[in-house]
Symmetry: C2
Subunit: 227 residues, 2 copies
Amino acid sequence: MPFKVIKQNILKFNEDRADKIRRTLDKRGVFMVNIISSPGSGKTTLLEKVTPLLKSEEISFAILAGDCFTSNDAVRLDKAGAKVTQINTGNACHIDAQLIQKALKEVNIGELDFVIVENVGNMVCPAEFDLGEDCKIALLSVPEGHDKPLKYPLLFKESELVIINKLDLLKQTDFDLEQCEKNIFKVNPKVCILKMSCRNGRGINAFVKWIKERISNKNKSFDLATS
Amino acid sequence: MPFKVIKQNILKFNEDRADKIRRTLDKRGVFMVNIISSPGSGKTTLLEKVTPLLKSEEISFAILAGDCFTSNDAVRLDKAGAKVTQINTGNACHIDAQLIQKALKEVNIGELDFVIVENVGNMVCPAEFDLGEDCKIALLSVPEGHDKPLKYPLLFKESELVIINKLDLLKQTDFDLEQCEKNIFKVNPKVCILKMSCRNGRGINAFVKWIKERISNKNKSFDLATS
């Protein structure tokens, strides 16, 4: 079985780079999240909605938008008023730490409070790659089904926050919200769950509040470390 | 860049096995499809609906159901009356040809007309791995958005048939069906597109008809080769 060894080498190579990124962000008190979901769960729409709210809170942030091909998401986020850098992975199924190192060189980290990585649409591989982020966020949308946390457990286990999006489609699907929450807690009993509909606005303010608290906590530990 | 070389080795290793599978299936006149989509696009629901129809047409078939973890899909398909073998990939993001070789040993190929591989829910990696199938089928569901064929082109380029599922949700989303078809044809001008709603039954019979024709064509070339 040559696969296992090869995979470990790739992951070790990635981990070293992720540790460097984490040290750089920690030194400057910048909070970074890595948002992971299936294609079409609503990552870009969420970031479009959040952008003006973060700006009105005077939070300085940049988005690193990952996609195999196209700059469609980056164009949408730029229109919404965000500072955005496109990361194209080609046929690669995830962003790795090396790509984040390159992308961070394009933004002035010294001026930022917050970095958002919008990963490639894929529930499996991105969950395996540490990008040096403070935390992973899993986004699951109602039409995908309440069974997904059990079928793709690594993502839900690795995430600090799970957002259940497209709640406006609850009545049109067989999605069982209660069962979904049970499935999420089965995989990760300590995770925070946020119910959302980017379409009707439910949960967006709660997400901004969560971001503000996390940035504030990071700043506190940054102040302690540098005082 | 050690990645490229490693990937090529893995793909070569896979390709050799896929060629062996293809020869075995060709020798016996068995038609095999590899269905690929995001998590929750409706692969299992489609196979549940198709199972009784294939049985009433006296088509002898087996489903190889791929998932990272759980046997939930296999249990559902077994209940629907299908012969099903579960393939669990662990944290691996795709089924490879070696796993198909093992799974095919569990079914009596000599008795079959048709094998359906239900791949792991992932639009990226599974498209890269030849499993020895006659053709790949891409499944895209309305809530995922009409832009996906451009963002994940390899799958749509590699597929002979694209099924657009969950058409019943058209009115509740911003999905532009015409634009979606244009996006698909941009990536793959020769592909066949089938519009479907597993929920209200639209397109299911057309899919069964497509399967029957393909099995019949495979049998013809099998008869020619052996006569």
